[in-house]
């Protein structure tokens, strides 16, 4: 990722855009934070927020005409916040809380002619920047027309404080002005004596109209602003805005940099913020019981509590991953960029990058289609390519994929009795691992119903490698699959898994592919004979069917034809959550994968129906009764209740895949299965708790057998004389497995298992 890509991505996320009020405020007061503080009854914190941006809060906080109020999002659901009244509440109950720093004194003498609020603001801002500033009040008093206001609007004390503040920052307040002479002449003289001059048009009249962006008059060192606006109305906040804008112009002028570059965010400006208010109940403005006295503390808390704290966060609200890592896309992309830039040191975002499920839900939700999934996937590929991908997050899933592709599981055959195939059924690795029996029944049904020969292919489309950023392995896998389809005579591939479909669609568009569901929807259906659900099931779309409205419609049509009542969970269809398998999330961050499955299951209260084998298994593992659509299409009398089927676990899936091939070969093609390794026949006994522990620790029964076979044949194991248990280890490739067991009956009883990647001295690989 380079800087340009970073900036482009950053700009797509609007979470850091200003809320509507702050954008509308000419000096961008952080109204949202101000409201949050007041809602917590923390007036002091609220005052700090004003002090940070607002000059003379005791004056401006009382008189601000609050143009932000018109922009307030609350206005769309009730009344806009009474921002002005809350400011008055705050400043009337607090003194100054923050003293902003004064920068070290530098050169560049500035005269401010006229001491209305805009002149005062300009003088204050320039003095804080370290410019020696002289504020010339024609009659020696500051405040201009503020002095005419009744004590109830601005107490005289506020002006006394303001004067002290100015003097505290070193502003010299002097009396002066044209004594008989024309103001123009006087200003011209000042322009000669000082490095820059600002004229407050409230106090002095001047010929020439200031440039609206810079407030420069006449191209020299003279600036002017303040006073009544073009509509001759007098806006308090406009005085402040002009004074501040002029101070910034003068600072630029003195630094000899562009007066105009990048100033579009000064003053009221547009914001790209998007805040969804659908689920927020309307609420009317709280009015003070005593209008003259203003809010009571309780009223202020209630009114500020109406603030909806405008932000976007729409993706984060739905995504378990972003919530877990406390990121929104903009912070995430920065983190990833920094992680990639690390040359030496800890790459602390590795886990974050590998934990995204790559499901793309956020991109559908985002008003600017922020591509978190593609960002994380491409980053993984970059990590693999540069040798910075840690091995542990993906090793197991990639081994699992290699097993699906190995001779033990892979298969491709024309239909028995056919030399060619018009179709090719491709159930995918996970359906074969989860429901081998349903694969067989589906295949037999297709072979019977479709003309022209239906071949069968077992294997894996390579998506785990794609998710892991293993580009070479993925390409090799998909190329082999492609070549096999070509060798079979380019039949139409009937894919049951929406992940395979997504891969074929994106990466092998030249293949002729259809989804099993669309195809079945066009056929006369078998009357599923198995147990039926007692109540309507929540239909869980997989995340990989997000962009396949056609496929999702076929599934619903099939359910209707089967008289299978379904309910739509919140966040299905294009917004469906991932079950935790996507992007190999559950391997990179196991607890998060479990959380994701939980979130998906909880989108609906009832039992569920899935048509992705991984969703089926993961939601079942999360404790939710969950059937697969094929259970009801091809169920048979005497089948166990599909809703009660447990997650087969990784060992179960391995065994299912291998057995599926053996059985199909024997039953349909009358072929002898490949001999299995000797240790495969070793009988193992273990409690369900130990089976679950091994599954969580990603230890396959195959590995258990290897450890025991090695220990028993070499005689190298430990023994606990008290229990007779044995403890042995073996490192087939990159992981050392430890198994605690004892001989039992003809085989072994397993008591424990764990693993590590660190290598012991006697281990060679």
């Amino acid at each position: 990722m380079d800087q340009t890509q970073l900036r482009e991505l950053e700009s797509r996320c609007i979470q850091e855009e200003q809320p509507f009020c702050t954008a509308a405020c000419p000096i961008h007061v952080d109204v949202r934070a101000f409201m949050a503080a007041l809602a917590k009854d923390d007036v002091c914190e609220a005052r700090k927020i004003l002090d940070r941006t607002m000059p003379f809060p005791e004056i401006v906080g009382r008189l601000c005409d609050a143009p932000c109020r018109r922009a307030c999002k609350r206005g769309e659901i009730g009344d806009p916040l009474a921002i002005g009244r809350l400011e008055r509440f705050c400043v009337s109950r607090t003194g100054p809380m923050l003293k902003l720093p004064k920068l070290p004194a530098k050169g560049g003498r500035v005269a401010v002619l006229g001491a209305g609020l805009s002149g005062m603001t300009a003088a204050l801002d320039l003095a804080r920047k370290g410019r020696p500033t002289t504020l010339i009040a024609p009659d020696g008093e500051i405040g201009g027309r503020l002095r005419l206001l009744p004590e109830s609007d601005v107490p005289g004390e506020a002006l006394v404080q303001a004067r002290k503040l100015l003097e505290g920052y070193g502003v010299a307040i002097v009396t002066g002005g044209p004594l008989g002479g024309a103001i123009g002449e006087f200003a011209a003289r000042l322009a000669g004596e000082y490095d820059a001059v600002y004229c407050d048009l409230e106090d002095v009249e001047m010929a020439g109209i200031p440039d609206p962006l810079t407030l420069a008059v006449g191209g020299g060192n003279c600036f002017a602003g303040g006073g009544p606006g073009a509509d001759s109305g007098f806006s308090t906040i406009k005085q402040v805005e002009d004074g501040r804008r002029a101070a910034l112009s003068i600072e630029r002028f003195l630094q000899k940099v562009s007066l105009t570059a990048q100033r579009d965010r000064e003053g009221s400006c547009a914001t790209r913020m998007a805040t969804v208010i659908d689920r927020i109940p309307p609420a009317a403005e709280i009015r003070p019981t005593d209008p003259a006295g203003g809010y009571t503390p309780a009223e202020a808390v209630a009114e500020a509590g109406r603030c909806i704290q405008c932000e976007c966060m729409e993706c984060v609200k739905q995504c378990a991953y972003l919530r877990e890592y406390k990121e929104y896309p903009k912070t995430l992309v920065r983190k990833i960029y920094n992680n990639l830039a690390i040359v030496q040191g800890t790459r602390s975002a590795n886990k974050t990058i590998n934990a995204c499920s790559l499901c793309g839900q956020c991109t559908v939700i985002c008003p600017h289609d922020f591509p978190v999934a593609e960002l994380c996937r491409a980053t993984r590929q970059e990590m693999v390519d540069t040798g910075h991908m840690p091995p542990s997050p993906h090793d197991f899933a990639l081994e699992d994929m290699r097993f699906s592709l190995s001779e033990a599981c892979r298969l491709s055959r024309h239909q028995p009795g056919h030399a060619t195939s018009r179709f090719l059924f491709y159930p995918g690795c996970q359906l074969a691992g989860s429901s081998p029996e349903l694969v067989t029944r589906t295949y037999e049904f297709l072979a019977e119903k479709l003309e022209g020969g239906v071949g069968l292919m077992l294997g894996c489309c390579g998506i785990p490698a794609h998710w892991a950023g293993q580009h070479a392995l993925f390409t090799e896998t998909l190329d082999a699959l492609r070549a096999e389809v070509v060798r079979m005579g380019r039949p139409t591939v009937i894919a049951a898994c929406s992940s395979c479909l997504a891969i074929f669609g994106e990466q092998a568009p030249e293949l002729s592919v259809t989804s099993l569901w669309e195809l079945l929807d066009g056929l006369e259906l078998p009357a599923g004979q198995g147990p039926r659900p007692p109540a309507a099931l929540a239909l869980h779309d997989p995340c990989t069917a997000r962009h396949r409205a056609d496929l999702r419609a076929s599934v619903r049509s099939l359910c209707a034809k089967l008289n299978l009542a379904v309910v739509e969970p919140g966040f299905g269809g294009a917004l469906a959550d991932c079950c935790g398998y996507g992007g190999l999330m559950q391997f990179a961050n196991q607890p998060l994968g479990e959380k994701a499955a939980q979130v998906k299951a909880e989108r609906s209260p009832g039992d569920g129906l899935a048509y992705c084998a991984m969703c089926r298994d993961n939601l079942a593992a999360a404790g939710r009764p969950m059937a697969h659509l094929l259970d009801y299409l091809f169920g048979q009398t005497g089948d166990p209740d599909p809703l009660a089927r447990a997650n087969p676990g990784f060992s179960g899936r391995h065994e299912n895949r291998a057995r599926l091939k053996e059985r199909l070969l024997a039953r349909l093609w009358q072929e002898e299965p490949m001999p299995r390794p000797a240790h495969a026949a070793m009988p193992l006994a273990m409690s369900p708790e130990i089976a679950a522990l091994l599954d969580r620790r990603l230890i396959l029964e195959e590995d258990v057998r290897k450890v025991i076979a090695h220990a028993e044949s070499s005689g190298r194991y430990l023994i606990d004389p008290a229990t007779g248990h044995r403890l042995a280890s073996f490192r087939p490739v990159r992981v050392t497995y430890w198994i605690e067991y004892e001989p039992a009956d003809a085989g072994y009883r397993i008591h424990n298992g764990y693993s590590h990647r660190m290598r012991l001295p006697e281990e060679t690989p």
Binding site: G345, T346, R347, S348, N350, K351, P390, P391, S392, G715, R716, Y717, L718, I719, D720, P721, A722, R726, L727, S729, T736, W738, N752, Y754, S755, H756, R757, M758, R759, L760, P761, E762
Partner: protein, 69 residues
Amino acid sequence: MTSFSFAETTAWQCAGCDLPLQPAEVKVSYLNSVFNVELMVCPGCGFVLVPESLATGKMLAVEQLLEDK
């Protein structure tokens, strides 16, 4: 190189040598790092015990740390 001790008395004995395990310094390695640690080892044949608590605790933490280097 500092050496950490994870040697703790254990009920496990070497079955082949019929000997109790004893603390001994062992070189373990991961990725490009090598550590000297003290573990329980069979004095006869050198069989090294990695107990469950170590494998799922400190050792796992170090593995993860090294993976992110």
